[in-house]
């Protein structure tokens, strides 16, 4: 069918990642959707949408592999969400990812962080003279933006700026591929429905 072929154009091309990656994505997505029982009618709309999104994220993380940091973090998120939604508290101990750092450690970490931020670095006097106000302002903007980026990229909070950039790159490409695959799927299903309707 010409339309189906047109649909496929999305798959083959696009700058969102390799064909192989997309194939894997599509496969994982379909499997995930079926496993998620999305075809059952009992779910409400919202539930369904969440389940689909979870399946999509899991498919993405699984297709991408364990290499990048965001992918592992995303996978962990998916699992956490699923346990939450299904309400299963079974063996949540082992199901959790790393237990949150003990409160004491967190306090210590925070202290160190605060101290490092507050105390001017040695030689900072000279640098502040060297760099004008404009530069400092620019640095603050950068910091703001990097913090935003850290929120966006899964697992980005623990990364330094340099790794964060690499992760962002990877994540952006994979996201694009995911979007493409999902668009493809939507089109296919809609066509399928249209065909089924025509037959009736």
């Amino acid at each position: 069918m010409a339309s189906a072929r047109g649909v496929l154009g999305v798959q083959g091309g696009g700058g969102g990642g390799s064909g192989r990656f997309k194939r894997a994505l599509l496969r994982n997505l379909i499997i995930g959707l079926r496993k998620g029982g999305v075809a059952s009618r009992e779910m409400g709309f919202r539930e369904r949408k969440d389940a689909i999104k979870r399946a999509a994220d899991a498919a993405l993380a699984s297709a991408r592999g364990a290499a990048p940091c965001w992918s592992r973090s995303l996978a962990a998120d998916v699992v956490a969400q699923q346990h939450r939604s299904s309400g299963t508290a079974n063996s949540s101990g082992e199901c959790c990812k790393a237990p949150p750092p003990s409160p004491r450690k967190m306090i210590v970490c925070k202290k160190i962080l605060r101290r490092s931020l507050r105390r001017p670095r040695p030689g900072n006097a000279t640098t502040s003279k060297k760099y004008g106000a404009g530069v400092v302002a620019r640095a603050m903007l950068m910091r703001k933006r990097t913090s935003v980026l850290k929120e966006i990229v899964p697992g980005g909070k623990a990364l330094d700026v340099c790794t964060l950039m690499a992760e962002t790159l990877d994540y952006a490409v994979s996201l694009k591929a995911q979007v493409d695959v999902m668009q493809l799927l939507v089109r296919i299903l809609q066509e399928q429905n249209a065909i089924a309707l025509e037959k009736q």
């Binding site: 962990a76 346990h83 933006r145 809609q190």
Partner: protein
């Protein structure tokens, strides 16, 4: 002189990555992990030019190496930055020059590369030489470093710590900003193949000071770090549509943030759309997908959808199990998501037991499935060629395949 192969000379980091993204579909995996270190390392693409490498490149050794390099690259970054001094003997702060960012905003003319990545790149021997666009990222080694600001994309110079050919490097380690001599470090990249079997631990990252720049270790490390960040941002700039016109880190970051956010919103929207598709049944999927996938993606896709058609007894109850299979391994870096896929494949393979096809058909399908899985996980191509696998050995092979994968 620059010993890089001519074709390789044209392949700067940006070219490499952008052409990968646009032209060769299969290389992107390599890109994703390896693109970044390649950027500031050498793209020793010269030797292996052309599309004939595509197949090999999608394969694993290069990919695995790049992935390994990426991790070691990151780990080494600070080690290298800390040991910025090329000669072990002399006292650090004195002799090493620092190239410099004149300030936060200005761009550096020279850059520091991690020699380990250089070496590994050269050794990997599986690089594609893209018909690069001449974006400024190309390490134009013949460009001389000019004192004063210039665009960061130019004049990257590479030096190794091993000092294999670099006699001029040592004495010039002084604050010689004005001398602006180009380092012939490039030739290493061509010869790197012969030279370094052993990698890193001794590598130093060489930084040249520009005139009037501070040379203490802190600022050196800072500059190295900033350089890497800016390199990556350049890659991102090529990636994000519409970012080319924007100059400046902050604006680019804005664009990138917008882009990623919009992609995420699109995913939400699409999942909503999928939720409205009613009925959401996959039984007819193969008929539509099969033809197109088969045509476009190759025969390996077909058995995937023959799988779909056998969905009669698909276990919907396994909802939780799939994800549980990789939860315990979340902390491990390796094979975390293999487990997921393994569980998926095992679950789906269970279907074959119900299927009353011939043993042969099952076998064929399993082989294709295995191939597909392996291809997804970049397992050695050689391994995936075996087709006459018998049923019992399937799982064993799959396990082996998974274990082979390194991330």
């Amino acid at each position: 002189m620059e010993g890089r192969a001519g074709g390789g000379g044209g392949s700067g980091g940006g070219d490499y990555i952008s052409s990968l993204l646009n032209s060769s579909p299969r290389l992107d995996f390599g890109l994703l992990a390896g693109g970044v270190p390649v950027m500031d390392g050498v793209v020793a693409a010269g030797a292996d030019a052309g599309g004939d490498c595509l197949d090999k490149l999608c394969g694993d050794p290069g990919f695995a190496e790049r992935a390994a390099r990426l991790s070691s690259f990151n780990g080494q970054r600070y080690a290298g930055a800390a040991g910025l001094f090329e000669m072990p003997p002399p006292a650090p702060a004195a002799s090493i020059g620092d190239f410099g960012c004149g300030g936060v905003g200005s761009r550096e003319a020279s850059s520091v590369s991690d020699p380990a990545s250089t070496m590994k790149d050269a050794i990997a021997k599986k690089r594609k030489a893209p018909g690069g666009k001449g974006k400024g990222k190309e390490p134009s080694l013949s460009t001389s470093c000019q004192v004063g600001e210039e665009k960061e994309s130019d004049a990257k110079r590479y030096k190794t710590g091993e000092g294999e050919k670099e006699s001029p490097v040592k004495p010039k380690a002084e604050l010689a900003g004005s001398d602006s001599s180009v380092e012939d470090g490039v030739q290493k990249q061509g010869k790197g193949k012969n030279a370094k079997p052993v990698e890193p631990p001794k590598d130093y990252v060489h930084v040249r000071a520009r005139r009037g720049q501070a040379t203490d270790s802190h600022s050196l490390a800072e500059r190295v770090r900033r350089e890497r960040i800016s390199q990556r941002m350049k890659v991102l700039q090529d990636l994000v549509p519409g970012c080319n016109k924007v100059i400046g880190k902050a604006l680019m970051l804005d664009e990138i943030i917008n882009y990623v956010q919009s992609l995420q919103r699109q995913v939400e929207f699409l999942s909503m759309k999928l939720a409205t598709v009613n009925p959401l049944d996959f039984s007819n999927l193969p008929t539509l997908l099969y033809k197109d996938m088969y045509q476009a993606c190759g025969p390996s896709a077909s058995p995937v959808f023959s799988l779909e058609s056998s969905n009669s007894a698909f276990p919907f109850s396994e909802q939780g199990d799939v994800f549980q299979s990789f939860v315990p391994n979340t902390m491990e870096n390796q094979c975390t998501l293999n487990q997921l896929d393994l569980a998926l494949s095992q679950a789906t393979n269970a279907q074959y037991a119900f299927q009353d096809g011939t043993a042969n058909a099952n076998l064929q399908q399993r082989n294709f499935w295995e191939d597909d899985l392996q291809s997804v996980f970049h397992i050695e191509n050689g391994q995936s060629q075996e087709n006459g696998v018998s049923a019992p050995s399937f799982h064993g092979q799959l396990q082996a395949g998974h274990m082979k994968m390194e991330f």
